[in-house]
Assembly symmetry: C3
Homo-oligomer: 429 residues x 3
């Protein structure tokens, strides 16, 4: 399993240098790498043309960039896109001219509080050009003429996203959404698509699945809005639980951000798993959302989607800077995130509604499931079994019973199997 | 606005010397002063005849008093009604005779724990006469014969109350009740009718009102019972929120006493306003009620009425004594109470049920309502707007959403206005 | 009342030496003593034949024992059944042979942590023989041959239980269950049947009862399963509240273990009584159940049954050992348990739904129920009366109102009587 963490980290390394945005070839190339590396041939690519209306929004023009830099008065090249693609404000229009330091300053972005970091800045819906620079470098700038050069284009094209449907026995769906539109940053956001792709690989490898899985890899905000505009009616019929997967690769906190009302199956299973596997997880408020749960839980959409993270976007110092790099995201961080998401899905897969087939407690002793001699001690496995049976009246799901009896649902797997083999449980439709 | 507090205090000063009771000319005179001072020509006076049945009660005889005193053995005049009308037990029958000190003592009321205070005592429904005196004065009494003199009468007459209906666009009503039956005391109770009259003046001055306002100025207990016996069916149909306004003029606590179940619109808006404007307000239990909410929330009446106060009746040392005077009640104390009640009514006026007109988040950037450049910081006004929109699905009132998103409703006024102007919100019936 | 405690303790003393089990003559003899000592001639004895199917279970063979002991190599008699019937494992098969110390050890049970205690061990459903011995005695055993002798038989027979129906005005039932299958132990379990029998005697002595009482004295587990298999349909129709009475005779804690959902009338009344009479009572979780509430609250049975105890089974050091004796159980301990159970039943008997007959507060003064002179102080009896009336709108039971107004229901008895006499309350069906 350590290898799995290492493999995920290696994939992050490969994707890291590519300059992604909400449209453009960097996004397409990254999606292709995920498909091929994890053998996800059913991961389909969709393109939506510039200008297409999606609810209140419109697909923007497609942005691509080849190079960018500034030549200082002394001839040195700074803000070199090829050294870090964060140096260019996302969606910068092309420029090639000489400007004074004063004029340049109006196009520069830095973080005085984090003087060594290059910030991540975008301007998707208003045309401007700009460069991001560390405060340390900015302070070295001298008076004089600077040549600013951005070789980008902003043209009619399309927005790209990936969708993978992994069929299960039921038409009911588990939805997983992650976004791939960020350039060279690691926790936010290569960890999300990488962990999701590995989870998709694991799900595909299962002999059977109860649920159908709908997995999307999209650009943030406009991507989820566009996807919903095409699919929300089907999703409202089918999706029983969904997860926004983001910032899931560092070694610090586990975090949970609820759905709008906080009471969906997604919330129940996510908090159940986190409570027992990482009891010190941080519970955020829905009011602190800043990612695609904004759209999934918006008025009228209201899908049962919550977010599962490690260090949450906006809440760790490296967020949206060049410090969010491949040292911050680690093999063990990615593996921890993967394991939580896997346990959530496994818990959902074993979540069903059962009912005992006999009245009163069954006589477990004659089936070898109960001690034949009384003593003062009680056995915790037996106790959990008796408690499970007490609540197993056809009105509660296994997950609800596990919450009632204070037992992680996965510790009940063997008990349920034995009780089913003894014909003491039947499934309730 | 300081002037408003001063004006309210001046009106208290003018009303203070008048000897009011649950019936009689002092009540009528005080009501006339409120009407004329605040230009409330629609404040109607009603009279209910002695003997009229009101549910389990009957309107008592009318009490009026002209003078009262005691002549001590040494010829000095004590317990002089003209010095303080608190010296006479309310509803005292006429008396004019000589009594021994021993007999007199049985008709005297004082407060050993508050030796300088004259207590406020009444005996509305059992005929007796009595004097109230400070403990200090009582201890000075010497043996001998005392002449006791009360020039009062208790005759068939009527009970007086005032009612002001201020019409609004809707037949739904906001109800405000306050009582004017106390003699020379200031917090309990000149503050209630004075603040209420100023609020009525403000309401009348508004260009339009969503709600109709039903404002009553009554004697306590028998007045609310009598008023309800005539109006409760209409009120049960129309009143959406009501407030008992009492003890609202000192400079100490803000207090709230819930309706019987504590979950009405009146409770929601009162606690919303107090929580954000005076977070240290005291929340009492309904079990601690002692005012007209007793009747408004009684079994079978059950109107949505709660009480908003500053230092609650029964919970401050000066209560029901001569110490509850015009030094205890201040211009700033009255103004604070007025402002809380005004904010409650303003919050109700802007409480409606809205629904977004688009699915997913609207694109606010193109309307100048959202930053066009991404940064790490988030703007709290924008955040509140996004949170408001997330809950704005036609199933919640603005007040419920304000509670959900932890924002005072009045801070959302501008946001709602802008969103309406952008056609992003529609009103739900 | 001290005599009652002494009487209960004397009955425990009389029953203590009898060797009871889930079947057999010891159980029958004990049941007869309870019937005769407390004049419970309607306490019927029922027998269910060995082999009878009861849900998933079958009535076991009947076990009787006359003598048992071990002769040590030095000729001394140890583990003498006649000295303590705990020395024999319950349901031991007959044996009469010589065994080595090594073989003997496999049949011995002791408690290293409690070296002076003989443990209580049973093996109802798997045939074995065994002796229980204190650790101190066990350590003295020397090498050599031991004669083990158990003069018992395990034959087709029947399981015995007692049932007492005490009729009331209503067919609605209060159910009380206790078990009598334990040999020489006092808190668990002579206290339960002894307190229950005394309560039955008190209930029988009442001139009238609102409820019918269904009282069963059974063997634990198999007894409640057998009883339910014959009666659960009637019980699900009629039982409004039930109590499992066990471990109710020592001087330590009062304990409560809720029904499965914890929200039945039985739970409400038990916690109401304990909260006001013994506020330091211990509230256990349903997950900690180990007695007949296991069956009463099992899936599909789901009767409104909770448990009321003093030191709970499994939670006091003497539990299931020879230390649970007549010094642990005391007259005052038994009396305390009796009083709590009696107060619970009295509270249920006075629990009805009432409604005021007038709107607004009634005028209590004219009926002598309210002070005729106002003062600053408030009277707690009057306050409780006013609070009771405020909630008395025909939608809540007296018990629910008592909870709302923070008053023990029994303190309202006089108030309710007076209000009924004044025709201010009517009963709601």
């Amino acid at each position: 399993m350590v290898n799995l963490g290492v493999d995920m980290h290696k994939l992050c390394e490969r994707l890291f240098p590519i300059c992604r945005s909400i449209t453009g070839d960097g996004f397409r190339e990254s999606l292709d790498i995920l498909r091929n590396e994890l053998d996800l041939q059913d991961l389909k690519t969709f393109e939506i043309l510039t200008g297409t209306k999606c609810f209140d929004w419109e697909i923007p023009r497609e942005w691509n960039i080849r190079d960018a830099y500034i030549i200082a008065p002394d001839g040195t090249k700074i803000c070199n896109f090829k050294a870090s693609n964060l140096h260019v404000v996302g969606y910068s229009t092309p420029v090639d001219k000489e400007v004074s330091l004063e004029e340049l300053q109006e196009h520069l972005y830095s973080l005085p509080e984090q003087p060594d970091a290059i910030p991540y800045i975008t301007s998707y819906y208003k045309e401007r050009w700009g460069f991001c620079i560390s405060e340390v470098e900015r302070e070295k700038l001298i008076s004089g003429q600077y040549r600013v050069y951005i070789d980008s284009d902003l043209k009619d094209g399309s927005l790209t996203y990936g969708e993978l449907i992994i069929p299960g026995e039921s038409k009911d769906e588990i939805f997983i959404s992650t976004y791939l539109c960020h350039p060279s940053m690691a926790n936010n956001e290569l960890s999300g698509p990488v962990v999701t792709a590995f989870i998709a690989n694991w799900l595909s490898s299962l002999q059977s699945r109860k649920y159908t899985y709908r997995i999307v890899i999209i650009p943030e905000t406009i991507g989820s809005i566009a996807y919903l505009s095409r699919n929300y009616k089907t999703m409202k019929e089918r999706v029983v639980a969904g997860f926004n997967i983001s910032c899931i690769g560092d070694d610090r906190a586990y975090s949970y951000l609820p759905s709008k009302e906080g009471n969906t199956l997604a919330d129940t299973v996510a908090t159940h798993v986190l409570k027992y596997s990482h009891p010190d997880y941080i519970r955020y408020s829905f009011l602190e959302r800043q990612s695609d749960e904004r759209q999934y839980c918006s008025s009228g959409i209201d899908l049962p989607v919550c977010s599962v993270m490690r260090s949450k976007y906006g809440c760790y110092p490296e967020y949206h800077t060049s410090l969010d790099d491949l040292k911050l995201v680690t093999p063990s961080g990615l593996l921890g995130g993967y394991n939580v998401l896997k346990k959530i899905l496994e818990s959902l897969e074993m979540n069903e509604t059962l009912c005992t087939t006999v009245l009163c407690e069954p006589q477990l002793g004659k089936r070898g499931l109960y001690p034949t001699i009384s003593t003062k001690e009680s056995n915790s496995i037996v106790k959990d079994m008796m408690n499970f049976l007490a609540y197993c009246d056809g009105s509660k799901t296994n997950l609800e019973i596990a919450e009632k009896i204070n037992a992680p649902i996965w510790t009940l797997e063997d008990t349920i199997k034995k009780l089913k083999e003894a014909n003491l449980l039947r499934t309730v439709a």
